[in-house]
C-alpha cells in the first residue's frame, strides 16, 4: 500500500508514524511519503505552545485529549532530549468563588476519563506556586498534563516511521493521487490531508477558519513557576465567543524560560503583532503573576490555529473522494491531540479497534460537503 501524507506538521508526522507502525505490526506493507514545502514542523507546530492538556469542553474532546495524553506518556521515554518533554502538570487557577464552582464538575469529568485531578485550596495553591498573586481562590491540579517542544517530535516521528519526506506543495487532489506545484503527479492508495489550514486551498469548502494567537517567550530569568498555569476563566468566558480575547496561560520551559499566552482573534490571517492585544494579554498574565514585571521578553510571535465550528478536528474519510482522509482542524489542541488523531485515523483506515471510534470526528458531520478544488 502506498500512502501520501500532505503536510509535515505534528499531525502529519504522527499520522505517518501510525501508518508505518500498523504495517510493522500487521505485516501489511505501507510505504509512507510525506509532502512538505517547508521545514518539518515549521507551521502551526512551531508556533504553538506545546501544552499537552486534557480539556473537557465536550465529551468527544475529553476522550480525544485523555487518550492522547495516555499515548504521550507511552511515547515519552523514546523522545530525544531536545523534545523538552516535561511532565509539569497543569494548574487551573480559580480567581474567585464563581470560578471555584466550576472545579468540582471538571474534577469528576477528569477522573471519569481516567485522568488524575486534585483540588488545591488557596493556601495549598500559594505553596505550590509562590509567585502567583495572593488572594486566589484555589486551583484544580492535573498532574498528568505535560509540555513538549513539538517540531523536534515531528522530526523524530518522521524518522521513526521511516517516511520519505519530499519537499514540495500539493496543489490539487486527484483521483488516486495528488499534483505537486512542480507539475508532477504522484499516485497513492491513500492520501491523508494533514496540512493544517493549508487544507482549504485543496478543499475550499471545508468548514475551517483561522484563529490567530500571540505568544511571548521570556529570557531565562529569576521568576520560576512549576506547573503550566491557566485561568479557569479560559474555559468559559475568555475564549468562548467570536470577539478578540485574552487569557492567563503561562508555561515553564525546561530551559528556565516562561512561555506566555494566550490570545484569540478570528479573521486576522496576517503574522503581524497586534501590540494592543499583546499588552492586554500580558496585563492579564501579570495580574496573576506580578513578578513578570521583572523579566525580559526574548521573542514574540503569532500563529494561526485552524478551527472548526464545533472546535473538534476533522478526522476521517472525505465524504466523496475515494482514498482521501482528513486530519486537520485541531485549533488550539493539535499538539496534544496529534497522537490520538493518528491512532483514530489508522483505525479508520485499517479497521482496527480504537475507543475513539465511538465519537464522531468525521468530516461528514457537517452539512456542507467538501468539494475538491481544481487548480
Amino acid at each position: 500500500m502506498k500512502a501520501l501524507v500532505i503536510g509535515g506538521g505534528l499531525v502529519g508526522a504522527a499520522c505517518a508514524d501510525a501508518l508505518a507502525r500498523h504495517s510493522a505490526l500487521n505485516g501489511q506493507r505501507v510505504r509512507v511519503t510525506v509532502l512538505e514545502p517547508g521545514p518539518v514542523g515549521g507551521g502551526a507546530t512551531a508556533a504553538g505552545m506545546g501544552h499537552l492538556v486534557v480539556m473537557d469542553d465536550s465529551p468527544a474532546q475529553l476522550a480525544l485529549t485523555a487518550r492522547s495524553l495516555h499515548l504521550w506518556e507511552a511515547l515519552a521515554p523514546a523522545l530525544p532530549r531536545q523534545a523538552d518533554y516535561h511532565g509539569c502538570g497543569t494548574l487551573w487557577v480559580a480567581s474567585d468563588d464563581g470560578e471555584l464552582a466550576a472545579v468540582e464538575p471538571k474534577r469528576r469529568a477528569y477522573l471519569a476519563a481516567g485522568r488524575e485531578a486534585t483540588w488545591l485550596d488557596a493556601a495549598e495553591l500559594a505553596r505550590a506556586e509562590p509567585n502567583l498573586r495572593p488572594g486566589l481562590a484555589g486551583a484544580l491540579r492535573v498532574p498528568g498534563d505535560s509540555v513538549v517542544y513539538a517540531p523536534v517530535v515531528a522530526q523524530f516521528l518522521l524518522e521513526r516511521a521511516g517516511a520519505a519526506v519530499r519537499r514540495g506543495a500539493v496543489t490539487e487532489l486527484r483521483d488516486g493521487g495528488v499534483r505537486l506545484a512542480s507539475g508532477e503527479t504522484l499516485r497513492a492508495d491513500l492520501v491523508v490531508v494533514a496540512n493544517g489550514i493549508g487544507a482549504v486551498s485543496l478543499l475550499p469548502d471545508l468548514p475551517l477558519r483561522q484563529r490567530k494567537g500571540h505568544l511571548l517567550i521570556t529570557e531565562r530569568g529569576p521568576v520560576h513557576v512549576r506547573h503550566q498555569l491557566v485561568e479557569l476563566g479560559y474555559l468559559k468566558s475568555a475564549h468562548g465567543g467570536d470577539e478578540d480575547s485574552v487569557a492567563f496561560n503561562v508555561q515553564p520551559r525546561p530551559t528556565g524560560q516562561l512561555l506566555i499566552g494566550s490570545s484569540r482573534q478570528f479573521e486576522q490571517p496576517d503574522r503581524e503583532i497586534d501590540w494592543l492585544l499583546l499588552r492586554r494579554m500580558l496585563r492579564r498574565a501579570a495580574e496573576f503573576l506580578p513578578a513578570l514585571e521583572q523579566i525580559a521578553a526574548l521573542r514574540i510571535w503569532t500563529g494561526q490555529r485552524c478551527a472548526t465550528p464545533d472546535h473538534l478536528p476533522l478526522i476521517g474519510p472525505h465524504p466523496e473522494l475515494d482514498g482521501v482522509f482528513l486530519a486537520t482542524g485541531h485549533e488550539g489542541l493539535g499538539i496534544t491531540t496529534a497522537l490520538g488523531t493518528a491512532e483514530l485515523l489508522s483505525a479508520q483506515v485499517f479497521g482496527t479497534p480504537s475507543g475513539l471510534l465511538q465519537y464522531d470526528f468525521t468530516p461528514a458531520r457537517f452539512d456542507r460537503v467538501p468539494e475538491p478544488a481544481h487548480a
Binding site: G38, P39, V40, G41, G42, A46, Q82, P151, V152, Q155, L216, T218, E219, E272, I273, W275, L278, R279, L282, R283, A286, L292, E293, Q294, I295, A296, A297, L298, R299, I300, W301
Partner: protein
Amino acid sequence: MTAEWEAVVVGAGPAGLMAALTAAQGGLRVLLLDAQPAAGGQIWRGAAAGQRGKAGELLRGVASHAGITVLSGAEVIAAEAGGQSHTLTVSAEAGLSHIHAARVILATGATERFLPFDGWTLPGVVGAGGLQAMSKGGLDLRGVRVVVAGSGPLLLAVAAGLRQKGARVLAVAEQAGLPGVAAFGVAAARLPGKAREALELAAGLRGIPYWTDAALVRANGDGQLQSVTLRRGRREITLACDFLAVGFGLVPETRVAALLGCPVTDAGAVNVNAWQATGVSGIYAAGEVCGIGGVDGALLEGLVAGCAASGQIERLHDSPRRAETQRRFQATLERSFALRPDRLPSPSPATIVCRCEDVRHGQLQGFTNWTAAKLQTRCGMGACQGRVCGPACQTLYGWRFGGVRAPLAPLPLSQLLAEPNTLSPP
C-alpha cells in the same frame, strides 16, 4: 498630521549624522536616533564632539542644528511601513515610544562577522572592531598583549588604534593573500585625501608584524584566553596573549530594513538606487547597511540620502562621479579580502556555533537551511537572536539567515505592560 516627523534617521554613525544634517539643511524636521549612548557610530563613538576634523565638525553641526532632535540610547525594535506614514517603535530607558514619519533614512551600519573556531568562546577572545569599541569605552589596554586576526582593512585600523592606547600588538594575521592586500592598498591610496591617511596608518603600524595568508587555528586557555595558535604556510605559531581581537569583515545590519520590507541584495545589503532610495516608498538607506565601504562612502551616501529625502537635487551635481569612485573602491575591497575557505578557521564537531544556546557545529551538520536547523537545535533562539551565529552559519553552511521578527531586541516586560507614548516633533 502634526504628530508626524518629516524625517527619522536610524543610526547616528557617519552616514546617519550626514543624512540628518543634510536633510535638516534642506528644511526638514529630523529625528536622529541611535541605540548607542552617544552619537558617532562605530568609528567616532563616545565624546568626539570636541575633536578637530570632519568628525567634530559633523557632530557639532548636528548638535547645534535647531531642526534636528537627537535621541541616544534609543533602539528601534519594531518597524512597519505604511503608504504615506511609517511607524517605528523605539525602546529606551523611558520605555516604548511610537514614532510616525513620512520619510525614514536607515543608517544602521554593520556588525562584525565572527566565525567559530576552537576556543573562540573564551573570555579574552573579542571582536577586532569590538576591542576597538571597548577601548573607546574606557577599557584600559596599557601593556596588554593583543593578537589581531581575521580579515579586512579594519584589522589594520584596529591594530593602530589599540597600539595608540598602549597595547602591545604582537601580530596582525590576515587570511587574504599578499597580492589582494597590495591591490587594496593601491586602490585606497588613490582615493582623494586617502594617501595621507594611509601614510599615517602605516606609521601607526610600524613594527607590528602583518602576516598575510595566515590562518587562525585555535584559541587556548582554561576559563580565560592564554594564547592563540596561527598557521602560516605549514608552520603553526602559538603566541601568548591577553586578547585575541578577531573579525572576518563586516555584515550590513539590515534588520530594521527587513521589517520595513526593503529588498536586500544577494550579498545581504539593502538595495538602493542612485538616490539611496530603497524599494519601499519614502524609505532611504545610507552607509554600510547598503554595503561595506568605509567611512568616506558612508558620508557620501548620507549626503545623497539627505538631499534626496529633502529634495535638494542641485547639491548632488558631482556625486555620481564620487559615487563611481567609491563603488570601484568597494569592489576592490570585496575582491581583496574575499574569504578563502582554506584560510578560514575550521570548527570541530564540539565547537560551539550558537553562543547563546550552546549549539555545536556537530549538531548543525546535515541541515539544509536556517529555519530547519533553528527548529531542531535552538540555534539562533537565544538573546542575540542570530546576530552572531546567523552570519557564521551563512559562511559555514551557506544558509541564508531568515526570520527577522519584532522585537529586534529583548525587552523588559515592564515596557510592554506600560502604555507606550508617542514621540512627536516639538
